[in-house]
Assembly symmetry: C3
Homo-oligomer: 137 residues x 3
Amino acid sequence: MKSYREELWFETKTRRAYLNITSQVEAAVRSSGVTEGLVLVNAMHITASVYINDHEPGLLKDYDEFLEKMAPQNATYRHNETGEDNGDAHIKRQFMGREVVIAITKGHLDFGPWEQIFYGEFDGRRRKRVLVKVIGE
Amino acid sequence: MKSYREELWFETKTRRAYLNITSQVEAAVRSSGVTEGLVLVNAMHITASVYINDHEPGLLKDYDEFLEKMAPQNATYRHNETGEDNGDAHIKRQFMGREVVIAITKGHLDFGPWEQIFYGEFDGRRRKRVLVKVIGE
Amino acid sequence: MKSYREELWFETKTRRAYLNITSQVEAAVRSSGVTEGLVLVNAMHITASVYINDHEPGLLKDYDEFLEKMAPQNATYRHNETGEDNGDAHIKRQFMGREVVIAITKGHLDFGPWEQIFYGEFDGRRRKRVLVKVIGE
């Protein structure tokens, strides 16, 4: 069994952002040399998500509006009594999810026609990481 | 390490549907010959989910009503300006999730007493796929 | 390839509870002898979650209030017509998720600075299980 580990680093200019990281994950799979296996891609921070959906600008705005309506930045959160201001981001991240697990088949991400991997940032403007871990043969 | 791949195809008669696919996944695990490992089951389309919960008709209606209230089909979505009419389905799918990962122990799905695998369709009436990928020994 | 399986049992005193199980999962990884691989941690019951987020008491209250507002215990659920009273718990669990998959690197959970594993109970006061399944080398 082979294993491979890589970190992807991001620093978004806005508090919330949605970045397509598919090609970076595909490159990590290529570096791993694994042709049959699984790749785990997860946010290493707890106010960000990794999720799979469509790369369509209207949809990214729909998600952003939905999340802000569901857990508004300026609502009252007990978490913010600690001095933080990101209580909303912890809730938004739970909706979009922490991680995805993707099949690797014949050396590639085994994807349907529209699947793309996104890094969802809900408390950005600082350096944060995504972990890519590959196992297989 | 062994690996195995199978696609399950669905075409629901209704726009939204909830199909119990547990026996099909169990059959794929049997075909794989893997007795200890993991199986990934994921929607290959971005307006559908694979999730694990109870096979109880009332609950399926509860989920459906909850999801339709959360993201109504007839609300306004920027995604629908592209000519699509499934903005709601992309949001419903995020709530229910894209994938499940299940342990395989002694050749079987390692499940608690009520765990069942469902395909959640939010934009059906066309052929769509689920990927089953098994790795292990 | 090595594999390892362990069950963690819980019986919470309250209907809803959020328990940090990170050290128990770390101990299971140690017992497995796996130094490079993946660990799956999932609720074996369908009214509970395993999720990763911050161990901060205010945040746990934020989650609890958010979930109770989203799917109130005393609302009307078709599922409860079966004699159950936990329709709300099935919806809360879908929001928080069933499972997490965590990379194992050099024998440890490969975590960012604040990641902690939680068991989220939404229908407690009875014995329920979490499955820890490790695969790797």
